[in-house]
């Protein structure tokens, strides 16, 4: 569930700002619902009815990269249908790293969707409903984006969405501030917000702050005015405060995403500071200049004071004026000239022409190279700067699988290493390494080693990795030993006295396992075993509880033993054929299916005993089902007994493998798992997505 909530520092800064805003804009303070007129109530109901039908709950399966492998996760958020074509506006942090999407409409239809485009800089995204999956006759309702510039502090607003996945929820509040920016405590400068730790976001945004309650799951949902117009996209929140991206920005971004899949922006490679506390009265201070950026190339330096941009004079006195300035520069044509007039010290009115470059994302794409046991990431300019790399050449290792070939290499590969060549072939970017990996992985005869050249710090290393698939042998078997199918407890002196036979200590049978030689021999619960093959068993304390079992284990399997037991006051000899110890759950045969991300094992004797399953119960026990895997999404979970998959009866690991193999060949759109859980069966419907992925687990 995705909605950004603030950390302590950000929250304190925000609280401080909010208190100030409250002083400046105190008009809303005296209102209460008791004074809401019937007209307003009607307006709320109208606004609700206009937008509710266009509100969707967004479900996402994400693909993340950690531990040297891909990892699926689930997330939810909210969205608004923008058009009859099925475009849905939501947050980029809802769709971030998403691979599969579903939207639940207001009429409860759950429809798959596909990615149209994401804009992490504004935290907005557009996905598109698969209209072919709508029930016949469905008329899509759409939300209408209003003009967020008309909002004023104190206006009523409605937040709609799916807090905690509770779909179609609406809350009411007022606008608290229309030009909120987040500032770092102390410096008063715009706080750099990050999307998933690596990507800057919100640089161009003056947020709509309001107090309609939002919670995780509201992200991407509409903020609605009383005219029933969407005037914001709820994006962040915490401690009763909520922050929405204005609809005017959302409209511009959504249009670009729908038209071209991304938003093209310019950069001059400089950052700015407002004039408050600087002693300056006009212009804007250049706070820093990227050494390899266009501004630097044109001659601008940190400390310069810009007076004009493209012929327009400007003065940025307050921090709230920074985002519009950044947006103004970002909206200029990429590669176009921008004339800038600036002062440097006593030299006033100098002019430079800066040629803009594209604003590139901070975070590079990632890929998993499974049989090498690493994930790699494209190096962006920002990553190169932050990691003090000499260039963006190569691909950075973003995680390593413990025990995998890369971790076992000597020297081993680790996070932050930059792979610059493979087998002597230089790599420019992540695509090159993926291509080389796929070439090696696709070879029938794998090379013994792959030579990797990598950079760590300022050193250039070479190492060898052995490209090999992960081994998955069956769990090791316990050494078989002799066993009698009974469970016992020691009868100590005091207990023997209470049971009426003070001189006869031994082991009382608590359970006789069904179908065992012990049961066939006629041993009964309540019998007290006094001797084993004539040797007296006299437990002295509870620490001797396992003594009988240990004594039996020292005998030969398939031999016989005589137990003298006390039963109803008489001692009788019971000859028992010993048998081998039964397989424990840890030793049971196992099977895995990479497509459905499911690991199962066979039922053991002790499972049957514990669950009271007789021989008519069959299937395989689920050891793990990845929550965001196909089976996990369907609701299959650890501990379930899978009895049937599609038309295939499942009785053991072999029949499970056969069933999954056939399903892998047929690739149906829906697979039904019949599982036994607790005391009843359940039907679980999986919807596989059979598209190939880069990461392919080697077939066993």
């Amino acid at each position: 569930m995705r909605t950004y909530f603030f950390g302590t520092v950000g929250l304190l800064a925000t609280l401080a700002s909010s208190m100030m805003a409250g002083c400046q804009n105190g008009a809303a303070g005296g209102r209460s619902m008791a004074r809401v007129s019937p007209d307003v109530r009607e307006a709320i109901a109208d606004a609700r009815d206009r937008v509710f039908p266009a509100l969707v709950n967004v479900e996402v399966v994400t693909l993340e990269y950690a531990g040297g492998k891909e990892q699926k996760n689930r997330g939810t958020g909210s969205g608004t249908i923008l058009s009859k074509e099925g475009y849905v506006l939501t947050n980029a942090h809802v769709t971030d790293k998403g691979k599969r999407f579903w939207c639940t409409l207001s009429d409860k239809q759950r429809i798959p969707a596909t990615m149209v485009g994401e804009d992490p800089w504004t935290d907005l995204a557009v996905i598109k409903l698969d209209l072919s999956r709508l029930l016949a006759g469905t008329e899509l309702s759409t939300g209408s984006l209003g003009d967020s510039n008309t909002l004023t502090v104190g206006d009523y607003v409605l937040a709609m969405g799916s807090p905690f996945s509770l779909s179609r929820t609406v809350t009411l509040g007022i606008v608290s501030n229309t030009e909120r920016v987040f500032t770092s405590a102390g410096t008063g400068q715009v706080d750099e917000m990050l999307l998933n730790w690596e990507q800057r976001t919100g640089l161009f945004t003056n947020w709509i702050q309001h107090d309609a309650l939002i919670n995780p799951g509201n992200s991407g949902g509409p903020l609605v005015n009383l005219r029933g117009e969407v005037i914001g996209v709820n994006t962040r929140g915490g401690s009763g405060m909520a922050f929405a991206t204005p609809s005017n920005m959302a409209r511009q971004v959504a249009d670009a995403l729908i038209a071209q899949g991304d938003v093209k922006r310019s950069s001059i490679g400089a950052s700015f500071r407002h004039l408050q506390n600087t002693g300056l009265s006009e212009g804007v201070l250049v706070d820093s200049v990227d050494a390899d950026g266009p501004a630097h190339a044109a001659g601008l330096r940190a400390g310069d004071v810009i007076r004009q941009i493209a012929g327009e004079s400007l003065t940025v006195r307050f921090v709230e004026e920074i985002p519009p300035l950044l947006k103004q520069l970002a909206d200029r044509p990429i590669g176009g000239p921008v004339e800038i007039v600036y002062d440097r010290g006593e030299t006033k009115g100098q002019t430079v022409t800066v040629v803009t470059e594209p604003l590139r994302r901070d975070r590079g794409d990632e890929q998993a190279l499974r049989t090498w046991g690493v994930t790699v990431q494209q190096i962006t300019n920002r990553m190169a700067k932050e990691m003090r790399l000499s260039s963006t050449r190569g691909a950075m290792i973003s995680s390593v699988r413990s025990g995998g070939p890369a971790a076992n290499a000597e020297p081993s590969l680790g996070w932050g290493d930059v792979i610059v060549s493979i087998d002597g072939k230089p790599l420019e970017q992540i695509g090159d390494i993926v291509q080389r990996y796929e070439e090696v992985d696709g070879l029938k005869e794998k090379p013994e080693y792959v030579l990797i050249e990598f950079e760590r710090g300022n050193k250039n290393y070479v190492t060898l990795i052995k490209p090999r698939p992960e081994e998955r042998p069956d769990p090791p078997a316990e050494l078989p030993k002799a066993w009698v199918g009974i469970a016992t407890q020691p009868v100590l002196r005091n207990m023997a006295e209470m049971l009426g036979h003070p001189d006869q200590r031994g082991f009382r049978i608590m359970r006789v396992y069904t179908g065992t030689n012990a049961a066939k021999a006629g041993l009964e619960v309540g019998d007290i075993v006094l001797t084993l093959n004539g040797e007296k068993l006299e437990p002295r304390g509870i620490q001797d509880a396992g003594a009988l079992t240990r004594a039996v284990r020292r005998l030969s399997i398939d031999s016989s033993a005589t137990l003298s037991v006390l039963r109803e006051g008489k001692v009788i000899d019971v000859p028992v054929s010993l048998e081998r110890t039964r397989i424990e759950p840890q030793e049971a045969a196992r099977a895995r299916n990479a497509d459905f991300e499911l690991a199962v094992r066979e039922i053991t004797f002790f499972d049957r005993e514990d669950y009271r399953w007789d021989e008519t119960v069959s299937g395989v026990l689920v050891e793990s089902a990845e929550p965001a895997g196909w089976a996990g999404l369907a609701g299959v979970r650890g501990g379930d007994l899978i009895q049937k998959i599609g038309d295939h009866e499942v009785k053991d690991s072999a029949s499970f493998k056969r069933a999954m193999e056939q399903i892998g060949k047929d690739q149906p759109g829906r697979v039904v798992f019949v599982v036994f859980r607790g005391s009843r069966t359940y039907f679980r419907f999986a919807e596989p997505d059979w598209k190939p992925t880069t990461e392919v687990e080697p077939k066993e």
């Binding site: 050494l479 030993k481 016992t488 509870i542 240990r550």
Partner: protein, 294 residues
Amino acid sequence: MNRVLTAVAGLAVGTSVLAANAAATPTAMPAPIAAHDGEGELYKGIIEKVGPAMVTIKMVLKLEGMGDEAQDAEVTGLMIDPKGLILVSNTMIGGMMKQFTITPTNIKVLFDDDDDGAEGISAKLIARDSELDLAWFQIDDAKAQDKTFKAVELTSGAAPAMGDTIYTPRRLDKFFDRVMYISEGRVGGLTTKPRAMVVPSGFQVEPGGPVFGADGKLVGFGAIILPGDDDMDVNSFREIYGRTGPLILPTGEIKSATDRAKEIAAKVPAEEPTPAATPAAETPAEAPKEEPAP
């Protein structure tokens, strides 16, 4: 500053410093214990005999049913059969945690005379005995199909008695090139329940570490015997072994378990040699005969 330097020097040449101090203050410090006659030869003899059979096993331990959790591991094992049967502590390969299934994978056996960077030869875990803290690996690499390995025979001498001197050879970490050394102690106690074991005194035995008597015969192996399902109301193993470390499981019990493991090993087929595989042309090393150490 001088104090620091003295401490560092003492750390580097501890024995010499102790001797020098003893000489400087003869009345305050006891005289250093002189090595027993022939003790050095005994140490060398154990190392020469056991060293080639004490192999290093590298593996990846996989936690079943919990995603792809895995961890690298390196343990010392003792070759107990010239055909490539290796004994290790089950505890050291994750066998102590009964609630989880931990499976060793990518198993490679490294030998003393391997070159740097050698990958070792592959082996399989054929059985484990959770009750006795034992596990057996069988070399199954096609490259080593006909090879004979130096092994230590599982025969024991006289039953250990209280106060007997005992020795355990160990390997240092990879950082020190896995060099062998000997620790010496005495039999500090003998248990009978839940089974007969030797309590070491004066030193700690490693799980799976072989222990020899003064006659050079195998006394047993370091083992962490844990309460089983049938044991009731027994404290955790940490408390059980808190004072002593692992105890020593006598050789006799290990031998009978190993005989059963060998039956399983006999059924493990070796990998088919591939054309690329090195033929087993190396000179087979003769299994050392069980001889008393000098």
